[in-house]
């Protein structure tokens, strides 16, 4: 079996004679018009990275015993942590709304012999799962369901 092709394997050996225009950023990039939501969607990546590591720290503390758990809970009450988590929550909702709106449009016309459900059905299903799981997790963690 042949190995994977080199990523530059299809490049010409020397530059072609055709002159090409230098790539230019659209004038609305990065924060005007439709680019604002696009750029913000990318920026949420920073928050997801940070949230992931904060969650790791919290779970790690839980594994370290009761004293470490109480200490990390005390740290999370610091206003900077609360503000960060509020911004992260807004980002998560923004990502969810944007991605779930895109998801039905990105479906292929057919998956094998089956046609995917209509777009509003997919969108409704995604929102139902999101709201359901978030509600269930909130109820369990907050002590509403034991």
């Amino acid at each position: 079996m042949a190995g994977a092709a080199h990523p530059d394997a299809m490049q010409p050996s020397r530059p072609g004679r055709t002159r090409t225009a230098r790539p230019q950023r659209p004038p609305q990039f990065p924060f005007r018009g439709r680019y604002a939501a696009y750029t913000l969607f990318d920026i949420t990546g920073v928050l997801y990275l940070l949230v992931g590591f904060v969650a790791l720290r919290v779970v790690w503390a839980l594994g370290n015993g009761a004293a470490a758990w109480h200490e990390v809970q005390r740290e999370l009450t610091h206003p900077s942590y609360v503000a960060f988590h509020v911004i992260a929550l807004i980002s998560v909702v923004f990502v969810g709304v944007r991605f779930f709106r895109l998801f039905p449009k990105a479906q292929p016309p057919r998956i094998g012999p089956v046609k995917p459900p209509p777009q509003p059905v997919i969108l409704g299903f995604l929102y139902a799962v999101w709201i359901g799981v978030a509600g269930l997790m909130t109820a369990i963690l907050a002590g509403g369901i034991s």
């Binding site: 920026i43 779970v59 839980l62 609360v82």
Partner: protein, 119 residues
């Protein structure tokens, strides 16, 4: 490095996509309670007591949820930060930055596995 990044691209995209989909679904409840409500004292006393929190987290479903909740957002974050860098003209540094970001996400994922196993 560029070759290696292209080879792992399907895996990165899988984890990135699940980071958006599953990560977003799971992080919502986590952030509401652990990040905002509990620190503001809006959660019932004892709901996040050590014994209850440990019992919830150490159940196999709890471990799976926590692993997904930690690891998948890291991949979503890593790939989106790479994409952000590319959009702001970072093509020349892309291979190095991608290697660093994916290494951070991989390390975080390994630590997440350790964190849920040791519960």
């Amino acid at each position: 490095m560029k070759h290696f990044l292209l080879r792992i691209e399907p895996l990165v995209w899988l984890l990135f996509g699940q980071g958006i989909l599953i990560g977003t679904i799971l992080l919502t409840g986590w952030l509401i309670v652990i990040g905002v409500a509990a620190p503001l004292g809006l959660v019932a006393p004892g709901a996040l007591a050590y014994e209850r929190a440990h019992a919830l987290a150490s159940h196999w479903i709890g471990r799976l949820v926590l692993l997904a909740l930690i690891a998948l957002p890291l991949w979503k974050g890593a790939h989106h930060v790479r994409s952000l860098s590319l959009d702001f003209g970072g093509a020349a540094r892309d291979a190095t930055l991608a290697a660093i970001l994916y290494s951070v996400a991989a390390l975080g994922s390994l630590l997440a596995i350790c964190a849920v196993v040791r519960l």
